[in-house]
Subunit: 373 residues, 2 copies
């Protein structure tokens, strides 16, 4: 536990992508200095605020960086656990700690830790003969995101082919779910914890394209159950910071799918949709500041991911969309447009869900170049 | 009129204080690069984002800076009008333009321009013999803010003493007003204009300590009249950007007091209190982007200025306040604490005005050290 600091602290963030970029606004408001550890000066956050440039697998470089910080946190799961542990041994305050972060990095460890929560049946295999029923879901033990590292496998041959590149895979029962949700939770070293209303995540080819909060077809008691589970998991893994708990919903049954121990795409709606955004809450949590109010600012919040396609210029289309709807809130990541890459998102809040969805669908299709008007 | 740009533009801001600092968040979201022109690397905005350091009275330095920008705007009125005009002659897009900005810099020019709006009676004098009735308000023609450059004058001797340091003064009738308000307006080069709900500004020793939006004691028709006047003035002075129109209210009568042609303290509530903050709207306006929705996010928004006093450490008190009320939103300017200096502000939104005022009064008193609990 940290004593109350007598000066505004410096928060180091491993990574300088869009998540670090979106931490800049609340850090600035809170008077906290954010110092991202970037791979390159052209990284999304490095374009806005001074960063340290280096390789996050290089312990010496990360250690030197950590000396400039009062607390170190993450915007991605790619940093080796050995580096995090070495930082901790050197006395650096790392949040979440390696003891927690492993459940975000290692799906095998996560499944073991959360064995008493309702989850898809799972096993770790190294040969296809260990699997008797198909189809199944195969997942890389670590490093997967946005549909990468996750495969639907229909036969032993397919599995054997995957095992050539991945000596060990997590095999999970294929859940024929009704819909997918994510519950964002925050927890501080004092064990104060909050959660936001569950979010429906709508995926296409394994990539989230839209979120709707609260989940429209979910009854209140089921929403509360999902939040309760997410808070229990947060306590179980001793979370410090924010975490996305992704779940499948089938009828009244909830299955734990994934954990991501950082601000997450399924919490982007909170920037305008909640009194306290996931980015502000993450900073408050890792600094052991009292957490902010996670209440929604309106009945519904809809978020659409802007995925790169054939348009390279994003300024003209967003001007058109702003003229069409003065309530759209754009969040651009200042990334080079590449097909399928998340280059921004757009939020809207309001009372009429049908209208909000229509506006967001139009906006992201227009930005990507799927439609011209 | 600017053609639609094919790339995200660079916005230059003369000044790097808290107003430029608070432009960073919406610029980041919009994907626009903000480049402040700072006096020193320790300026409020310069601590967050790369700046050009220089002297804003040095035309060559400002010209070199402007070459890096697609449009240049201001966060204060101190830059000489001659420098702005020279930039314009060199082909730089300056918004608001010198033709407009003069009404924010020169109170004599402003009074002449707005002679047909209801205003305190006024005259420009260079000797005390030109004034026959006392008390009056004397104002420096330019450069005043936060009560500086404004004096209540009760006798010819007092006036004569002031005229020793100020060869010319604007003398205004003393209005025995009921309360003071500010109306924030935004206007784009396309002449699209929006205004926010009028704000009551509560002053102490000429410094605004609190704002309440909408003005509680103002009837709807009078609020609408105030907004209409502010929009008319915006058109009259060919505003591009945002502007505060400060007014005195006496019964049903509105008197124009001051103009400030930039984001303004009386619009700080918009960060959480409006769908579109004054900082985002200023950027949209000067870039000729369609303006955002200025609707309020809640029934009431109360803002309190955090003024430096005897506490130098601001981290411990704000931690205490966050624990007391998870809805408080702090905006710290990362300025050294000096007595009477604005070092931050705190916003709250909600439905119960009495409670909101109590929370803000407690928060600012606690931050300043007026109270210990």
């Amino acid at each position: 536990m940290t004593a109350v600091k007598s000066e505004f602290p410096v928060v180091g963030v491993i990574g300088a992508g869009q998540l670090a970029r979106m931490m800049i606004a609340p850090a600035t408001a809170l008077g906290i200095k954010l110092l991202p550890f970037a791979s390159s000066a052209s990284d999304s956050a490095a374009q806005i605020t001074p960063c340290i440039i280096g390789d996050y697998t290089d312990l010496d470089a990360v250690k030197k960086f950590a000396e400039l910080c009062d607390v170190v946190t993450f915007e991605h799961e790619l940093i080796p656990l050995s580096v995090i542990k070495a930082l901790e041994s050197a006395g650096v305050t790392v949040r979440p700690s390696s003891d927690s972060f492993i459940y975000s990095q290692d799906k095998e460890a996560m499944r073991k830790k959360l064995a008493h929560f309702n989850s898809p049946r799972s096993q770790v295999v190294s040969t296809s003969s260990e699997v008797s029923e198909y189809p199944v879901i195969a997942k890389a033990i670590s490093g997967g995101y946005d549909g990468r590292g996750v495969w639907k496998v229909s036969s032993p041959d397919e599995l054997q082919a995957l095992l050539r590149n991945n000596p060990k895979l997590l095999i999970e029962e294929l859940i024929d779910f009704d819909y997918e949700i994510a519950v964002m939770v925050a927890r501080s070293p004092h064990a104060q914890a909050t959660s936001w209303s569950p979010t429906q995540t709508i995926q296409s080819d394994g990539i989230c394209t839209m979120t709707i909060t609260p989940v429209p077809e979910m009854r209140n008691d089921l929403r509360e159950k999902a939040q309760k589970i997410a808070l229990e998991i947060a306590a179980e893994v001793k979370l410090v910071g924010v975490m996305a708990v992704e779940m499948f919903v089938k009828g009244d049954e909830l299955f734990i799918n994934e954990l991501a121990m950082r601000p997450h795409n399924s919490g982007h709606w909170t920037i305008e949709g909640s009194r306290t955004s996931q980015f502000e809450q993450h900073l408050r949590a890792i600094l052991d500041l009292p957490l902010g109010d996670p209440a929604m600012t309106q009945d519904f919040a809809v978020m659409g991911n802007i995925l790169g396609k054939n348009k390279t210029d994003m300024y003209r289309p967003y001007l058109h969309l702003m003229a069409r709807n003065p309530s759209l809130k754009f969040h651009m990541y200042a990334k080079e447009v590449r097909p399928g890459r998340k280059i921004g998102h757009v939020n809207i809040i309001g009372k009429d869900l049908v209208e909000l969805r229509t506006e967001i669908e139009h906006a992201v299709d227009y930005m990507s170049g799927e439609i011209d008007e």
